[in-house]
């Protein structure tokens, strides 16, 4: 029995009082005695109880919405936001008045022609002579805004359908047919030799490093999606995706990894189990059958699909991704020097650059039933394909060393030999860009101009820095127009334009190459991507 309800001396507590106190109760501001009377009243009054529930719900607020859109939905939303920003760009006054000014100028020209009978019938040539003064003040086109130097999207098959071997070697085959050159089409399969690795570039935007013993198929490339199929081994990928660029999917036997722009590794062990580690950005891991989201993996984490567990990114993942660190400088094209980029999240690693080295990453302690690691030898399957090397640069650096040695420069050989040593191994080739740049800035002259060519090759291969690469090739061509390697420089100039999506420029460079080198070593590669240039031969 509630004494508050049956004590005659207690003040009356009815619906009116209850409704007045309701707000104090839901805000937790009513003293305990009144609170007891309040709840006692609620027990006997349905209407007040109902009003209390509604008011409490009102002050509590709505239940939190779902976890929000997934990464791909957010990516679409972000792209839509950028489109809206561009669409709402104010048109400059000369742009707004362009049409009007153009019509006015045309009318003025016509009027001038009509009221000048002494000149006789005006010929097109006359108009041409007189027009510039009138039209000079009117821009023929509104000034184009500065577009990103790297074009977004895959608009041309010459860019979309091909990849390139950047360094390393493996068996490469397109279906049953061996791939004959370092340029390969969609449908190509890679089997990396045990103890080796291979770096490849895809569609001019994606740089991947295939680890020892990996087996990878490139299954799809279209404007919306690039897809790789990882059967075995471990691969590291860097993808600096612009909003219009395709999404990258990596299929494994037990997962799909969906990427919108990041640095990450995917590993498939001998049991077909998958682990995904992210160094920068975020990736989604999906069920391979239903494509339902299994996990979102953020930077610094390694997700084991079979166990559904997270761990820290470890040394093997960072080590495999290190060849992708060239140019990963938060918007600035820095040279890789073996330092782990500051944008990569590696737990336990300080921000001090000198300590951001591979050897400072704590080695993960393997658990008892840990899955097979990559360095465990696997039974090699039958190799069907052809061994392919990206060897343009190797020949070049050998030549550079020979010429330097032969021409009075023994004192330079030490530093150049160091660069050569870095270049020779696919695991350290990414470090040679910095070394060579330093060498050329200290000792470069016309006699060793091929250093510029080599630097250009490294910039486009490992940093996707096509503008810097083109600049280097043009510098080489200007400094050494009669050099035996001008053919390679012209080919690389064409390749950089193609992979950067500058298609008109690429056609011009391709035409120039075919005109100068109709029987050239790279003519087939150019015609493979631009068959319309056959008429140039």
């Amino acid at each position: 029995m509630n004494p508050a309800l049956h004590d005659d001396s207690a003040p009356r507590y009815g619906c009116l009082e209850c409704r007045e106190d309701a707000e104090l109760v839901v805000c937790d501001r009513l003293h305990s005695e009144a609170l007891a009377r309040y709840h006692a009243h609620l027990r006997g009054c349905d209407a007040c109880r109902r009003a209390h529930q509604v008011l409490a719900a009102l002050y509590r607020g709505p239940d939190p919405a779902s976890s929000g859109p997934g990464m791909v939905a957010r990516d679409r939303e972000f792209s839509a936001i950028l489109r809206k920003v561009r669409a709402s760009a104010p048109v400059p006054w000369y742009g707004q008045n362009l049409s009007l000014a153009g019509v006015a100028a045309l009318a003025a020209v016509l009027a001038w022609m009509v009221v000048s009978p002494a000149r006789g019938p005006a010929s097109p040539r006359d108009v041409g002579d007189g027009a510039p003064d009138l039209l000079a003040s009117v821009p023929s086109n509104p000034p184009a805004r500065a577009e990103p130097e790297r074009a977004a999207g895959l608009d041309h098959h010459a860019q979309a359908d091909y990849g390139r071997v950047v360094a390393g070697n493996s068996f490469v085959a397109e279906g049953e047919r061996p791939v004959a050159t370092d340029t390969f089409p969609v449908g190509t399969r890679f089997e990396v030799f045990p103890g080796s690795s291979m770096q490849i570039g895809l569609v001019g935007k994606i740089l991947a490093n295939f680890g020892s013993g990996s087996e990878v198929h490139w299954t799809r490339a279209d404007p919306g999606l690039v897809e790789l199929d990882l059967r075995r081994g471990m691969i590291a990928v860097r993808y600096e995706r612009l909003p219009a660029d395709p999404i990258l999917k990596i299929r494994t036997p037990s997962a799909i990894v969906r990427v919108v722009g990041t640095v990450f590794t995917v590993e498939v062990d001998d049991h077909g189990d998958t682990a995904v580690a992210v160094l920068r950005g975020e990736v989604e891991v999906l069920d391979p059958n239903t494509e339902e989201l299994l996990a979102e993996v953020s930077a610094g984490y390694r997700f084991d699909v079979a166990r559904s567990t997270y761990a820290d990114v470890g040394r093997p993942e960072v080590g495999l991704a290190m060849p992708l660190s060239d140019g990963d400088g938060d918007g600035q094209f820095t040279f890789a020097d073996g330092t782990i980029p500051p944008s990569w999240v590696v737990p336990g690693l300080p921000d001090v650059p000198s300590l951001r080295r591979l050897e400072h990453i704590v080695v993960r302690t393997p658990v008892a039933d840990d899955r097979a690691r990559l360095d465990r030898p696997h039974a090699p399957g039958p190799k069907r394909g052809r061994q392919v090397r990206g060897d343009d640069g190797q020949a070049l650096i050998d030549k550079l060393v020979r010429e330097t040695r032969a021409s009075r420069r023994e004192q330079l050989m030490a530093s150049l030999a160091h660069c050569q040593g870095l270049y020779e191994s696919p695991e350290t080739r990414y470090l040679s860009a910095r070394c060579l740049t330093q060498f050329m800035s200290e000792h470069g002259d016309d006699d060793i101009a091929e250093g510029h060519l080599l630097i250009g090759i490294l910039r486009m291969d490992f940093a996707n820095d096509y503008p810097a690469a083109k600049q280097a090739f043009e510098k080489f061509l200007a400094r050494a127009p009669d050099h035996p390697d001008v053919e390679l420089a012209r080919y690389r100039l064409w390749l950089a334009s193609t992979e950067n999506g500058d298609i008109h420029e690429a056609i011009e460079h391709g035409r120039d190459y075919l005109r100068r080198h109709p029987d050239g070593k790279y003519a087939g590669k150019i015609l493979q991507r631009f068959p319309q240039l056959v008429s140039e031969l």
Binding site: A57, L58, G61, A65, E77, V85, R145, A146
Partner: protein, 208 residues
């Protein structure tokens, strides 16, 4: 690898300059070092910085819209509009408030007209319902979902009052912060909050 997008030159002239607070005294310390770096990159049109800005604040904007409008199919569109305006107005942000406060202000400016339109429409609709169903029928059935009922009652709050109520009770902001977002004196904000509570009390008790 990121390249500057050509949006940096749009910042200074966008119509959402109203979203900034030009006459407030500069009070440094609202932004963390990381926020300052992201802001600098975003102002230069760096896509990665813009993406970081978006990722850092999209859940705040989306959550606020959800609490203000309830489940609504237009929320995603409004989120896009809010960020498009924010990106375009980054050049006018002077650091006189926290970024979250500044975004709340843009969100409020973006949604205010929508709230007013819906409020007028709902008033006609609810009057028609009162005429057909009886004045308190919806409160007396006892089977109506409490959460849904609370959302419906919140929609019947005038936009000015609803904004203050949501900021104070759902977002946990102080009267001073709300005053900064709405660009109204604190006394006005306090008055609106009192009126909002009174109005909700009346609505719950069927006195409205």
């Amino acid at each position: 690898m990121d390249q500057a997008l050509p949006i940096a030159d749009l910042f200074a002239t966008d119509a959402t300059a109203e979203a900034a607070a030009p006459d407030e005294a500069r009070a440094p310390g609202y932004l963390t070092t990381e926020e300052q770096l992201v802001l600098a990159g975003a102002r230069a049109g760096n896509p990665r910085a813009l993406r970081q800005f978006y990722e850092a604040h999209q859940s705040q904007v989306r959550g606020h819209l959800y609490r203000l409008l309830g489940p609504d199919s237009e929320i995603d569109d409004i989120v896009q509009t809010v960020f498009a305006r924010a990106f375009a107005a980054l050049g006018t942000f002077k650091g006189n408030s926290a970024l979250s406060t500044w975004l709340y202000r843009i969100t409020t400016n973006t949604t205010h007209n929508l709230l007013r339109q819906r409020f007028r429409r709902n008033r006609v609709k609810s009057a028609f319902q009162w005429w057909t169903d009886g004045r308190d029928a919806h409160l007396q059935t006892g089977r109506v979902d409490v959460r849904g009922e609370a959302e419906r009652l919140l929609q019947r709050l005038a936009p000015d009052l609803r904004e203050v109520f949501v900021f104070y009770h759902y977002e946990g902001l102080t009267l001073q912060e709300i005053s900064q977002i709405l660009d109204k004196p604190v006394s006005t904000v306090g008055d609106r909050l009192t009126r909002a509570r009174k109005r909700l009390h009346d609505l719950v008790n069927g006195e409205a």
